[in-house]
């Protein structure tokens, strides 16, 4: 067992943990939290791979991931606040008008 592969597995773990959170949590804020955890997985993987190959691209990609994460947090929270004003609560399952 080598370092990179263990880290890749751990990053996969972070990813599926976040995924589980997205699937299982009904509170919108917690879904956003889970999304952040999902994105942390690739971040770790990129840095680890970059470190493994000694390539600077890994860190560069990490920065891109970070930018995305920031943008998503901003947009997600804005939508959350917006939804909250409409629906009155933070329950994801409650916003289900569009169906069928």
């Amino acid at each position: 067992m080598t370092g990179l592969n263990a880290l890749l597995a751990l990053s996969g773990g972070l990813f599926v943990t976040g995924l589980f959170g997205v699937l299982a949590r009904r509170t919108i804020v917690l879904q956003l939290v889970s999304l952040e955890i999902m994105l942390a997985g690739p971040a770790l993987a990129f840095v680890a791979a970059g470190a493994h190959h000694g390539a600077v691209e890994g860190t560069a990609m990490f920065l891109l991931v970070l930018a995305l994460a920031a943008a998503e947090v901003a947009v997600g929270l804005a939508i959350y606040l917006h939804l909250r004003r409409h629906e009155g609560g933070g329950d994801a399952d409650a916003t289900a008008r569009l169906r069928g």
Partner: protein, 452 residues
């Protein structure tokens, strides 16, 4: 940076600039001016892109390629973007819509030329994020819900894509897409993750769930982003990746499964839809499915078929969405007598539906010809059967709506279309009927572009 390289980047740059200009002008200028400036810049980008037809390929920094595929995709995405600009309305008092359309188009242009994981990822996310923003612009409950659904699934999809790219990078040490062929198990897992991310964006089953909600809840411009602009770009990206063949045989197999499921399920569920937008949403899933089938089958005709199909599909979905945007949320019954009340909108809607159903004399028929030919040439009989089954189901719902448009009914004339929308409809009509009657130019362009 040489002149050629600069020129090759110019369409992307100009489109991005259009977005920035739109954003900057939005708070201060009237909506019409914002749209005009944005559209002018995108049109300029289109002119530049067209002027580069036949030019020597230039490779700016190797992150992007400048081959026929990229150029074809760029032109098509820019055309689609212009079309969307023609009917993207200032929803809910927000004047940012043109800016967002331009930004999304820029993302699509980047994606069309993506040869590198970073550009692939960024192009994809720019269109997605702009799409989300477009979706929530009206600030209605439905729009917010559609936006949130898209947002959440986009987040998961983006994470999957990124993780996949990271695995690929870890396996090969390179971020160039064509360096990933023949990797080990890590690369295979990475490829699966990348495929999932792209399939989400391409709305293949079971990654498709956001699509119908977006079409019915969000404004038509957001739907057009998903159905036209980003579909072109993602299609081309998928074609590139399929040719690079990461993940070995699992890639085409997964593509075929997801595509087949999309072709069947999309058409099936569309059968019983009464809302025009929702029907279009499901049908766009089905069309993605056909394209995925073509890609999965591979063979010499796949690239050509993909491009021709996209070129036939984009004007159709844009025309339909343009009319839908003008009419607001309509059901099939509301469409009755449309041809009578608004001849241009009605004719465009009817022809667009015919084209999507693949009936002559529209470009859709040529697209269907290519779809079937490509599958037959690759001797992918099972996929051909699935595509045929899907196409068979599709006749029903398209024609149900088309006949409603033609049917006679009393009704108010409905809102009139502005001149940009009308102009866009005329162009779309020409793009629908022209290739249907004389397909040679389109076919020649597509086959030239599909050559490696």
């Amino acid at each position: 940076m040489s002149g050629a390289e600069f020129l090759s980047l110019a369409p992307l740059a100009l489109t991005g600039l259009a977005g920035i200009a739109g954003m900057a002008l939005a708070p201060v200028a009237p909506a019409r001016a914002v749209r005009g400036v944005t559209a002018a810049l995108v049109a300029l980008a289109l002119v530049v892109a067209l002027s580069r037809a036949g030019a020597e390929p230039a490779a700016p920094y190797a992150l992007m390629v400048d081959d026929g595929l990229a150029r074809f995709g760029t032109v098509l995405a820019l055309l689609a973007g212009l079309g969307v600009l023609a009917f993207a309305r200032a929803e809910g008092g927000a004047r940012e819509a043109p800016a967002l359309v331009a930004v999304a188009t820029a993302g699509a242009v980047a994606l069309a030329g993506a040869a590198h994981a970073a550009v692939l990822f960024l192009g994809l996310e720019i269109t997605t994020l702009a799409m989300i923003a477009l979706a929530v612009l009206p600030r209605t409950a439905e729009a917010a819900e559609a936006g949130y659904k898209l947002f959440l699934m986009a987040g998961a999809g983006a994470a999957a894509l990124l993780l996949g790219l990271a695995f690929g990078f870890a396996d090969s040490g390179s971020l160039m897409l064509d360096a990933w062929a023949g990797g080990g198990p890590v690369a295979a897992v990475g490829a699966a993750l990348v495929l999932a991310g792209l399939a989400f964006k391409f709305s293949l089953v079971p990654f498709h769930m956001w699509t119908p909600d977006l079409f019915s809840g969000a404004p038509a411009s957001a739907a057009a982003m998903a159905g036209a602009v980003s579909k072109v770009a993602v299609g081309i990206a998928l074609l590139r990746l399929t040719e690079a063949a990461p993940g070995g045989a699992a890639w085409p197999l997964g593509l075929a499964l997801a595509g087949g499921a999309a072709a069947i399920l999309g058409n099936l569920v569309a059968l019983r839809q009464e809302s025009l937008s929702r029907m279009l949403g499901y049908s766009t899933i089905a069309h993605s499915g056909y394209l995925a089938l073509v890609l999965a089958a591979g063979g010499g005709l796949a690239g050509e078929a993909l491009l021709v199909y996209l070129a036939a599909y984009v004007p159709a979905i844009l025309a339909a969405l343009c009319v839908a945007a003008a009419l607001g949320p309509v059901t099939r019954d509301d469409l009755r007598g449309l041809v009578h009340r608004q001849p241009l909108a009605g004719a465009a809607m009817a022809l667009a539906l015919l084209s999507m159903a693949g009936l002559p004399p529209t470009a859709g028929f040529i697209g269907k010809v290519y779809l079937f030919s490509a599958l037959a040439a690759a001797e992918a009989w099972a996929l051909l059967g699935v595509a045929a089954l899907g196409a068979a189901l599709a006749f029903v719902y398209y024609l149900r709506f088309a006949v409603a448009a033609f049917a006679s009914a009393e009704g108010a004339p409905g809102p009139t279309l502005g001149w940009p929308a009308r102009a866009a409809l005329v162009v779309a009509l020409a793009a629908l009927v022209g290739p249907g009657l004389y397909p040679e130019p389109l076919i020649a362009l597509a086959s030239a572009a599909a050559l490696p």
